[in-house]
């Protein structure tokens, strides 16, 4: 019986891909290890190899087809002597066929971020030409523009050059700026973070890419003790104008050591600035500001957001100031405050709540140091209720800090205690069902809003 060849999952975050090119045709004999096709994932073009031997029967998905879902049959493979019309054997059980968990888990909301755009943005003038860009492209453009503008800006990190970035953020930068300014390092975070900090003392403006922020823990001493404190310790004589950037937070199924949100950690440190954007325009405008800033800036990106598309203004010199929150959605019943990937849940929750007649105002903090308290307080004074949303752990969270500030500055305006929606107080589990439960969900945000609005 013919075997179905299925669209493979080729990255932790891949749900669908483009079947770029077939390297075999119907009737070709293949053996295990032969390349069948080129498939574009969310990150890269991958070669897809045969795992069984046989003859290619029918090609079911034509080259150039976009949006082919993982596990869709793309071709049939025949055993020797079989006809191409042989009925394909049912494909091996897809992931969805996993047996039910021992105890039923509450169904977590599917987290497909919606790229909603608020009507008015204070960041650019009405009528500005806009274009669609992914977060990944916006970040790359921001770095390239600043590197063109200032010869002392350089990028350093693991796989940023020849590999074009582990997450393809630095795509094309080596070609344009050469190996003097786009520097591949060994896997030595503590060492190169220290060297970059020293280079910043010496008059350069380094951008240090951590492959992910999990690995910045190797370098945390230099980030905090060397970069953040030198300006103060030197009585203002010298500091570290530099950016530490990279993906932060959970990706998908990469387990405890590779999934954590450092927002609250870095936000605690005087001397650092901390940025954690959500939309592509914010990634762009805030990265440009970060590179120009005379202080060490922690720029927390998100792997799941890298591939999301947003509207970005077409402007020559587009920057966004630190310390200015953005109101994504105006509302009257409750204020939802979030940042980074948390905005995905906040905005989704606001949509669901609107359908039930609850009007939520959604604020994206964008920068965590400095924080735009005024915008939050003004909103809470209007809605009298607040829910915060973040992916990090609950103890000592950004939400905790906002709650305290709201209590101090707007206590009399509150009609309900502030609720902090956070990730669960556990290391990130690998199992798919547990991972969903460990993360903050849209449904939890909806439930929290109902609680503070007494619905």
């Amino acid at each position: 019986m013919a075997i179905e060849i299925l669209m493979p999952a080729l990255s932790p975050t891949m749900e669908e891909g483009t079947l770029a090119k077939w390297l075999v045709k119907e009737g070709d004999t293949v053996s295990a290890g032969d390349i069948l096709a080129e498939i574009e994932t969310d990150k890269a073009t991958m070669e897809f190899e045969a795992v069984d031997e046989g003859v290619i029967g029918k090609i079911l998905v034509a080259a150039g087809t976009e949006g082919v879902k993982v596990n869709t049959p793309i071709a049939t493979l025949l055993a020797e002597g079989e006809s191409a019309d042989a009925a394909p054997a049912p494909a091996a059980a897809p992931a969805a066929a996993a047996p039910a968990p021992v105890a039923a888990a509450p169904k977590a909301a599917e987290a497909a971020p919606v790229a909603v755009q608020s009507k008015a943005s204070p960041d650019w003038a009405e009528g500005t030409e806009m274009k669609k860009q992914t977060v990944r492209e916006a970040l790359r453009d921001a770095m390239a523009e600043e590197m063109r503008r200032d010869g002392t800006v350089f990028l350093m990190g693991e796989e940023v050059g020849e590999y074009q970035g582990a997450y393809k953020i630095s795509q094309g930068l080596l070609d344009e700026f050469g190996p003097k300014r786009v520097i591949d390092t060994p896997i030595t975070e503590h060492g190169f973070a220290g060297i970059a900090t020293g280079a910043a003392f010496g008059g350069l403006k380094p951008i240090v890419e951590f492959m992910t922020f999990n690995f910045a823990m190797q370098a945390i001493d230099h980030i905090i003790n060397s970069a953040a404190k030198t300006l103060y310790m030197s009585g203002g004589q010298m500091g570290a104008p530099m950016v530490f950037r990279g993906p932060n937070g959970a990706a998908a199924r990469v387990a405890a050591q590779h999934s954590q949100d450092y927002a609250a950690w870095y936000a605690q440190i005087p001397g650092l600035k901390v940025v954690m954007p959500y939309s592509a325009s914010d990634y762009k405008g805030l990265m440009k500001t970060a590179i120009r800033d005379p202080n060490p800036v922690i720029f927390l990106e998100n792997e799941i957001l890298y591939g999301k598309t947003f509207e970005v203004p077409v402007l020559d010199n587009f920057t966004i100031p630190f310390g200015k929150a953005r109101i994504w959605r105006e509302g009257t019943d409750v204020t939802i405050v979030s940042f980074g990937i948390g905005m995905t849940y906040a905005l989704e929750a606001a949509d669901k709540l609107a359908a039930e007649g609850i009007s939520a105002e959604v604020i994206d903090l964008r920068t965590l140091r400095p924080i735009d308290y005024d915008t939050v307080i003004a909103s809470v004074m209007k809605t009298n209720r607040c829910v915060t949303v973040e992916e990090g752990w609950p103890v000592g969270s950004i939400g905790n800090h906002l709650s305290a500030t709201i209590m101090e500055r707007a206590f009399d305006y509150l009609d309900a205690p502030v609720i902090n929606c956070t990730g669960k107080d556990v290391p990130m589990p690998y199992a798919a069902n547990l991972e969903k439960l460990a993360l903050v969900t849209t449904d939890e945000v909806v439930a929290a809003v109902k609680k503070v609005t007494y619905r």
Binding site: P427, A431, A432, L434
Partner: protein, 329 residues
């Protein structure tokens, strides 16, 4: 101190040789199956296959005794199979199910077995090196003659904590073997692009740690080197470094397009240096085994791997309560 000596020829019986063939084949077939399950979405996240490197861990394990300990990076499936951990338990961990060795909570990169003295499964490049020396510290403290194996890559060999560990391990004469699995690449970085001097086995010289380079595609050469290193450690002479020259056939992880090397380079290695083919040739040419014998080994392995995959698919996901367990002892 660090001198490169000619590799001793290890005396092995036909049965032992067949055993190594079997163990290496189990790893290869297991990894191929894992790659398949990843493509089907049954395994998620990062999944680093060991295909090509099988002779390293099989050769090293050949010189161990009960009580010896091992620790490695995220590229850990081969190490677990080689020290006798259950293939079903490993595969079910890859699919994130309750029957997995970490109850589905660790995944591909994080598995452990107290029973088999396997201490993980570590995701942070280089972190297992001081941990491995710590295992040796405990054995020395407790006064037994166990040896610990700390496996790490050519990329990891540049991490600072490796050298802090070398110093202490030599200073305190810890019974630890530092096994550098030099597969020539750290993700997309060829070793020459990251490393100022290519001979990693010499890097203990500054600390007085002897070391040698070993052909990691030849399981017998690895075994001989392992025996020598183990004897050194068990005799209380302190740490030893083995730089095992090997090669990974697949991408760094399942999502690596591997554009940094040519297909020809990989193909050449596979065709000319493959560790399993070498032993197969040795078995057949020395008339230690017939084609039939090897076919029956292949069949046995296929059955083990299929059974492991079935178990990994059928084992249920962990219960919701598991989210909250094992955080504190």
């Amino acid at each position: 101190m660090a001198t490169k000596k000619p590799q001793a020829q290890s005396n092995v019986s036909a049965e032992e040789l067949k055993g190594y063939y079997r163990d290496m084949l189990l790893i290869r077939r297991f990894e191929e199956k894992a790659g398949q399950l990843y493509g089907m979405g049954l395994i998620g996240g990062f999944c680093h296959l060991y295909i090509g490197q099988e002779a390293v861990v099989v050769g090293l394990e050949a010189a161990t005794k009960e009580g010896d300990k091992r620790i490695t990076s995220y590229r850990d499936h081969g190490h677990m199979l080689a020290c006798g951990m259950d293939p079903g338990g490993v595969m079910a961990e890859l699919t994130g199910r309750i029957g997995g060795l970490s109850k589905g909570k660790g995944g591909s990169m994080h598995m452990f077995s107290k029973e088999k003295h396997f201490y993980g499964g570590h995701g942070i490049v280089g972190a297992q090196v001081p941990l491995g020396a710590g295992l040796a510290f405990a054995d020395k403290y407790l006064g037994n003659d166990n040896v610990s194996f700390a496996y790490f890559g050519d990329g990891a060999a540049n991490q600072g904590q490796v050298y802090e560990t070398f110093n202490m391990a030599a200073l305190w004469k810890l019974p630890v073997i530092f096994v550098i699995e030099n597969n020539q690449y750290a993700m997309g970085t060829a070793q020459r692009r990251s490393t100022s001097t290519p001979d990693l086995w010499t890097r203990g010289a500054a600390f007085g740690i002897p070391g040698e380079a070993v052909d990691g595609m030849d399981v017998l050469a690895v075994k001989a080197a392992s025996e020598k290193a183990v004897a050194h450690c068990r005799a209380g002479e302190g740490p030893y470094i083995l730089e095992v020259k090997t090669y990974r056939y697949r991408g760094h992880s399942m999502s690596d397009p591997a554009k940094y090397r040519t297909r020809e380079e990989v193909q050449k290695m596979r065709e000319e240096r493959d560790c399993i083919e070498q032993v197969r040739d040795l078995l057949l040419s020395g008339k230690h085994a017939t084609e039939e014998d090897l076919k029956s080994i292949d069949k046995e392995i296929k059955e083990i791997v299929n059974k492991a995959a079935d178990f990994a698919k059928e084992s249920p996901e962990p219960s919701v309560e598991e989210l909250w367990t094992d955080i504190y002892a």
